[in-house]
C-alpha cells in the first residue's frame, strides 16, 4: 500500500515538471483558457456620467471588433465592458477585477488618462496587457510600464500640431483656456511651450470648471484683451459652450480645440452655427468603408470608436498568433509572448499603419487639423490640407 502511494506522489511531481516543458516557457506565466470557455477582452471606459457619450463610442468600437472576430481557435471571444468612471479609485478597482479574471487576455482602455495611469500600475503588477484607445497624457508612456500601449496619439503630438498651425496662420494675440483636468492642462501647457519657443506670446491662460455652464464672466474678461485666437484644452461639453458664448459676448476670434471636441453630435450639432469656422485637432479620417459599416450598426461615427476598434483588433490578432491549442482543447497564452507580439506588431488598421515605439506610443504623426464648415446645408469637420 505504502509503496503504491509513493509511486503516485512521484508521478504527480514528475508530471508537474513536465507540464511547462511540454508546452513552452514564459517568464510572466500563462493564461489558460479551459476547453469550451470563452476568451474575454476587457474594456474600461466611462459608461455613465458626464462623458459617457465618449465612453459608449469606445465601447461600440471594441464591441464591433469582437463581434466580427467571433472566435479564436474554437473559443468564442466576448467583451467584458466595465464602467471605470474616467479615473482614480474606480479605475484601480476595475483594473484589479479585470486582472484577477483568469479568462481575460487583455484590456482595451482605459478611457481617460487619469484612469489609465493608476490602472497601468495594477496591470504591470499582474502583467496583463492594456491598449488605450484614448488616453493621451505624456506620463503614461514615459514611466516604463511594459504592458501599456495606445492606438491614439499623445498630448505633445497634438499640441505641437495645433501650435504649428497657429504659427503658420500668423495669429499673434492668443488666449489659452483649459478645464483644469490633467488632460486639458497638459495640452494647454504643451501648446504654450511650442508657441513661446517660436517667439509668440500668450496673452492669458485661464482655467474653467468641468460641468459648469456659464462662461460669460471669463469670456467678457477675455474680450477686453481683443484676442485673435482662443485655444481650449478640454472636452466637447465645455468646448461647445465656449464657442457659443464667445459669439454671445461678441468675441470675434477664432476658436481652436482638441480631439475632445471632435464629435459631430456634441460639438457641431449642439453648437449650431456658432461652431462654424472652429478648428479641431484630431486623427486622420478612418477608412471610409469601415465608417459605413460602423454607422449602419451604431449611428454616426464619433470620437474614439476607430481607435478602440483598432486596439481591440491588435489584441485579438496577438492572441491568435500567440495562443497554443492543447490536446484537451484548452488554450495556453504566454503573457510575455503576448506582450512582445503587440510591441513588435506591424498592423494595418482602419486608422492607418500601426506600430509602437519602445515606450508604447504609436509611431508617426497621426494628428491633423479639421475645420467646421457648412457646405450645401450640411455642417461637418473638413480636414485641412497638410
Amino acid at each position: 500500500m505504502k509503496n503504491k502511494y509513493q509511486w503516485y506522489c512521484l508521478l504527480v511531481i514528475m508530471s508537474l515538471f513536465f507540464i511547462p516543458l511540454s508546452g513552452y516557457a514564459d517568464e510572466w506565466g500563462f493564461i489558460t483558457i479551459p476547453n469550451g470557455k470563452p476568451i474575454r477582452i476587457g474594456l474600461g471606459s466611462m459608461l455613465s456620467g458626464d462623458y459617457a457619450s465618449m465612453g459608449i463610442d469606445i465601447k461600440n468600437g471594441a464591441e464591433m471588433a469582437v463581434l466580427e472576430k467571433k472566435s479564436i481557435l474554437g473559443h468564442p471571444v466576448i467583451l467584458q465592458a466595465e464602467d471605470d468612471g474616467c479615473g482614480g479609485p474606480t479605475s484601480v478597482a476595475i483594473a484589479e477585477k479585470m486582472c484577477n479574471n483568469p479568462l481575460l487576455v487583455g484590456v482595451v482602455g482605459y478611457m481617460c488618462s487619469g484612469g489609465s495611469k493608476p490602472a497601468s500600475d495594477v496591470h504591470n503588477k499582474y502583467k496583463v496587457l492594456m491598449i488605450s484607445p484614448s488616453s493621451t497624457a505624456m506620463e503614461l508612456t514615459s514611466r516604463g510600464i511594459p504592458v501599456f500601449f495606445r492606438t491614439c496619439w499623445n498630448d505633445a503630438t497634438q499640441a505641437r500640431c495645433a501650435a504649428d498651425f497657429v504659427i503658420k496662420k500668423k495669429w499673434k494675440k492668443i488666449v489659452v483656456l483649459h478645464d483644469k483636468s490633467d488632460y486639458g492642462q497638459s495640452l494647454a501647457h504643451d501648446f504654450t511651450n511650442h508657441i513661446s519657443k517660436n517667439g509668440l506670446k500668450i496673452l492669458a491662460t485661464e482655467g474653467l470648471t468641468r460641468g459648469d455652464k456659464d462662461f460669460a464672466p471669463i469670456l467678457t474678461k477675455i474680450k477686453f484683451m481683443r484676442p485673435e485666437l482662443i485655444y481650449f484644452g478640454g472636452m466637447a461639453a465645455e468646448g461647445v459652450l465656449l464657442a457659443r458664448q464667445m459669439k454671445r459676448v461678441g468675441i470675434r476670434a477664432y476658436f481652436m480645440s482638441d480631439d475632445g471636441c471632435y464629435t459631430a453630435k456634441d460639438f457641431i450639432q449642439a453648437g449650431g452655427r456658432a461652431t462654424n469656422g472652429c478648428y479641431v485637432t484630431y486623427a486622420k479620417k478612418p477608412d471610409a468603408q469601415w465608417v459605413k459599416r460602423f454607422e449602419s450598426c451604431y449611428g454616426p461615427c464619433q470620437t474614439f470608436s476607430p481607435q478602440a476598434y483598432d486596439a481591440t483588433n491588435i489584441l485579438l490578432e496577438a492572441v491568435t498568433q500567440v495562443a497554443k491549442k492543447q490536446t484537451d482543447g484548452s488554450l495556453i497564452i504566454g503573457k510575455k509572448a503576448l506582450r512582445d507580439k503587440v510591441a513588435g506588431i506591424q498592423y494595418k488598421g482602419i486608422t492607418g499603419k500601426i506600430a509602437f515605439n519602445s515606450h508604447g506610443d504609436r509611431t508617426g504623426s497621426v494628428v491633423v487639423i479639421y475645420k467646421v464648415v457648412e457646405e450645401n446645408g450640411k455642417r461637418f469637420f473638413k480636414q485641412l490640407p497638410l
Binding site: L47, S48, G49, D50, A52, S53, G55, I56, K180, E206, G207, L208, T209, G211, D212, K213, D214, A216, P217, I218, T220, K221, K223, F224, A236, A237, V240, L241, R244, R248, V249, G250, K265, D266, Q269, A270, G272
Partner: protein
C-alpha cells in the same frame, strides 16, 4: 484690477452675474422653503431642477419637430414652461410623500440620507433614460443682442433676469398676502400649534414642495434655453451653488434666498475680474465661509423673524 475701473466691462459682468444669480436664486428658494417648514435639506432639489429642464426639452423638441414652434415660438416656450412645472411639481409632491413623510418624526439625519439617496436615484434614472448622452435644446427664437458701443447684451439675459424677478415677486405676494401663504408661515412657525388651529399640515407641506419644485422647473427651462445643453448631471453644481446661496442669505428665509442667489452670481462674475478664472469657485465658497463666520445665520438670518 484694471478691469474693475472699466465701466463697460463692469456693466457686462454685472449683467452676467445677475443672469446666473437669478437662476441660483430660483433654485435656492426651493431649498429655503422646504427648510423653513421641515428643517431638512432637500438634497434632491437639484434633480427636480434637472427633471424640469428635461420636461421642457421634451416638449420643445416635439413642437420643433412638427413645425409648431416655427409658427408659434412664444406659445411653444410657454408650453415648455408649463410642462416642466407640471413634471417637477408632481415629482416634488411624490418625493415628499414617498421619501420624506415616512421619516418626518425620525432623527434629523434620516431624511437627509433619504434625500441624498433620492438624488442619486433620480440622476441614474435619467442617465439610463437618456443613455448618458448630452441633450441639446432646439433653437426656437433667434437670440437678439442690444449693442451699446463695446457692450453686447443678449435679450435672453434680460428676459431671464426679468423672469426671475417676476416669479420672486409672485412668490412673495403668495406667501405674505394669501390665506395659504399665511398657513405656510404658521406651519413654519410651529407645526403643532398650526395643526391645532385647524390647518391641514400635510397639505401645506405638499404645497410647499410643489411651489419649490415649480420654481426650480422654471429655472431648468431657462437654463436649457440660455445654455442649450442639458444632461443628467446638470442639477449637481447648480444645486450645490443654490444651497450655498440659500445659506448665504440665511436658510429658511425667503428674501434671504433671493438676495443670496444674486449675491453669489455677482460675486462669481466680478471675482473673475480680480483673480484668474480658475478661482471662481474659491471666491464663491470663500465668501460663504466668511459670511458664516461673521453672521452665522446668514445675511438676512436675523432681520426677519418669520421662517418660511
Amino acid at each position: 484690477m484694471e478691469y474693475l475701473l472699466n465701466p463697460e466691462i463692469l456693466t457686462a459682468q454685472i449683467i452676467n452675474g445677475l443672469t446666473i444669480g437669478g437662476i441660483y436664486a430660483l433654485i435656492a428658494l426651493g431649498y429655503t422653503l422646504v427648510y423653513g417648514i421641515l428643517f431638512m435639506i432637500n438634497f434632491a432639489h437639484g434633480e427636480i431642477f434637472m427633471f424640469g429642464s428635461f420636461g421642457g426639452f421634451a416638449v420643445l423638441t416635439l413642437l420643433s419637430n412638427n413645425g409648431f414652434s416655427t409658427t408659434h415660438p412664444t406659445l411653444s416656450i410657454l408650453c415648455a414652461f408649463a410642462a416642466a412645472i407640471l413634471i417637477s411639481s408632481a415629482l416634488g409632491a411624490i418625493l415628499e410623500r414617498v421619501a420624506y413623510r415616512p421619516l418626518r418624526d425620525a432623527p434629523r439625519l434620516s431624511p437627509l440620507i433619504s434625500a441624498i439617496g433620492v438624488s442619486i436615484f433620480l440622476q441614474n434614472a435619467m442617465m439610463l433614460f437618456t443613455r448618458g448622452r448630452m441633450q441639446v435644446y432646439p433653437d426656437i427664437i433667434p437670440e437678439n443682442f442690444i449693442e451699446i458701443g463695446w457692450l453686447s447684451i443678449s435679450c435672453f439675459q434680460i428676459s431671464i433676469i426679468l423672469g426671475c424677478l417676476l416669479l420672486m415677486t409672485g412668490l412673495y405676494i403668495f406667501i405674505y398676502k394669501t390665506k395659504t401663504g399665511k398657513a405656510m408661515r404658521a406651519v413654519a412657525e410651529n407645526r403643532e400649534a398650526a395643526s391645532l388651529m385647524g390647518i391641514d399640515v400635510n397639505r401645506i407641506i405638499t404645497i410647499t414642495f410643489i411651489i419649490g419644485s415649480a420654481l426650480a422647473a422654471a429655472a431648468g427651462v431657462m437654463v436649457g434655453i440660455y445654455y442649450t445643453q442639458i444632461n443628467h448631471m446638470m442639477g449637481f453644481i447648480p444645486g450645490i451653488k443654490a444651497f450655498t446661496a440659500a445659506v448665504l442669505g440665511g436658510i429658511g428665509n425667503v428674501p434671504g434666498a433671493m438676495l443670496g442667489g444674486f449675491f453669489l452670481g455677482l460675486a462669481e462674475a466680478l471675482g473673475v475680474l480680480v483673480m484668474p478664472a480658475q478661482y471662481k469657485d474659491l471666491i464663491a465658497f470663500g465668501l460663504l465661509i466668511l459670511v458664516l463666520i461673521i453672521r452665522p445665520k446668514g445675511i438676512m438670518g436675523e432681520v426677519v423673524s418669520e421662517r418660511v
